[in-house]
């Protein structure tokens, strides 16, 4: 059984279609969602995080239907969600922030301490415990957002732009943590950084105007890039990405 299933999912904002009949089956491991701005990445992530509902189509997360209230509650106890956090503006300190999110997730005191400790160590936040979140550099905020998502041992981790504007150290830490977690949980992340995402994902999904333009392994994208005539001296990965987004007809990957 697949862990996450989307069946002909559509979502429209004020008559502008954001997603048009998306079919996806995701299993354990890391899936990177890519595509230009406005292609529907954030909408897709918000659907998986149960923050919004589709206009039509079905979603199943570990067999549960987010449209049914009791199943939704079950999904949410096993969900970690990190929205795009550019404007995380709170007076909470790092430690207060983590305790607050742990309380929102309903963790008891033992789980709370255990998980917070573990995430602070894994994501190198120990030096910033008492600093206000709003004053942290972007890289540290991104690490904090991933740390809070990991609280409560989720089965599904949904991360929007975890690498945007991060420094070198933060990027290494994040890649390391995400690599280690992908063996036991389903990670879905969106971003722009082709090389970073290809390095940690075992699957790439490229969205184009609300539809799936590519859905396969990074190696397949490289192969597709090598197969194109490449006048601009792009890396095979970049050439593959551009080919997937171009209008030329190409063999459709079987959606099922």
């Amino acid at each position: 059984m697949s862990d996450v299933l989307l069946d002909r999912v559509t979502k429209t904002y004020r008559r502008r279609p954001a997603l048009q009949g998306i079919n996806l089956r995701l299993t354990a491991g890391t899936t990177a969602i890519m595509g230009p701005n406005g292609a529907g990445k954030t909408t897709l992530l918000r659907l998986l995080a149960t923050a919004i509902r589709p206009d039509s189509g079905q979603i199943r997360i570990h067999g549960a239907d987010p449209n049914r209230p009791l199943e939704l509650a079950r999904i949410r106890t096993r969900l970690g969600y990190a929205p795009d956090g550019n404007d995380l503006d709170t007076r909470l300190s790092v430690l207060q922030f983590l305790h607050h999110v742990a309380a929102l997730k309903g963790l008891d005191i033992t789980e709370r301490n255990r998980d917070i400790e573990q995430q602070i160590e894994a994501l190198g936040l120990g030096h910033a415990l008492h600093r206000q979140v709003r004053q942290l550099p972007t890289g540290t905020v991104r690490r904090l957002l991933v740390a809070q998502a990991m609280l409560g041992r989720p089965q599904l981790l949904v991360l929007d732009e975890p690498f945007a504007d991060v420094d070198h150290e933060s990027r290494h830490l994040l890649i390391d943590v995400l690599r280690r977690s992908s063996d036991h949980l389903t990670v879905v992340l969106a971003g722009h950084h082709l090389n970073d995402l290809a390095a940690i994902a075992n699957r790439l999904v490229i969205l184009k105007a609300g539809t799936v333009a590519f859905d396969n392994t990074p190696a397949d994208l490289v192969a597709a890039g090598l197969a194109t005539t490449n006048p601009d001296d792009l890396s095979p990965l970049e050439a593959g990405y551009l080919a997937a987004l171009s209008d030329r007809p190409r063999p459709e990957p079987d959606p099922m």
């Binding site: 995080a49 149960t50 923050a51 209230p69 009791l70 939704l72 509650a73 949410r76 106890t77 969900l79 969600y81 990190a82 929205p83 795009d84 956090g85 404007d87 995380l88 503006d89 709170t90 007076r91 909470l92 430690l95 207060q96 922030f97 305790h99 607050h100 999110v101 742990a102 309380a103 929102l104 997730k105 309903g106 963790l107 008891d108 005191i109 709370r112 301490n113 917070i116 400790e117 602070i120 160590e121 120990g126 030096h127 910033a128 415990l129 008492h130 600093r131 004053q135 957002l145 809070q148 420094d167 150290e169």
Partner: protein, 265 residues
Amino acid sequence: MTHPSRAELRGYLTSESSDFEADTIEHHLVGCSSCRVEIRDGEWTNRSWRQLRTTIRTPPRSRPERTLVTVGIPNHIAHLIAASPAFRPAWWLSVAAALVFAGIAAGAVTTNPLASLPFLTVAPVLPVIGVALAYGIPGDPLTQIAAVAPHGGFRLLLIRGLTVSASSIALAVLAALFFLPPNAAFIWLIPSLAATAATLALSIRMAAPVAAIVVVTIWIMLLGATTIAGTPTDAFTIGPHLLVLAIAVAIVGGARNSAPSSAAT
């Protein structure tokens, strides 16, 4: 280049240095690989980590939070009710708004009982709307995280609405004791206390938004009945009955359904 001392590095590692010192050290670490190695592999970092662990496990708890835990409220709920100082401005804003509403309602209704109708219609939901406006910064990442957390979203709104109603009632009663007019302002806050408590109680059996719709529907129907009878303010006596009914439903439901009560939001 002058390297930070071991004591300074340790202070940084255990979050004991000031923000300014931490910034300085962080800046230094970016450009100094030997200090990075020292901080990562130094034999003293284990000891620092043990110290850090103590800090993490004993976060400062406010007196209200400790009191709530003592009287048997689960840890995570107590934490959300007491909140941290960072949320206090929003809390005071909500309480102030509730008190202003109660004051205006009590002042306006003394002469004509039918004038109470618009106030009675909104009384159960107004404090919760106030809370939503005061706390919720739409699009803020923390709001988005809370919205999909098991105890976030609508449940968190109800928990906060309940504490705001209860605190406002306490303050209004206190004001009445000191003969601050209008005396009966507090009764205008009882419908919201009853409605939020009833919704939370019912949410053990059904999705919280459905519970809210049930409670508001019952309130409007009963208010309609008392208005037709010519005495809309009789609706005040309904609030407590509604609450008792909901608690009974919750207890019966909770007993039959002793599985985790993590009701949907």
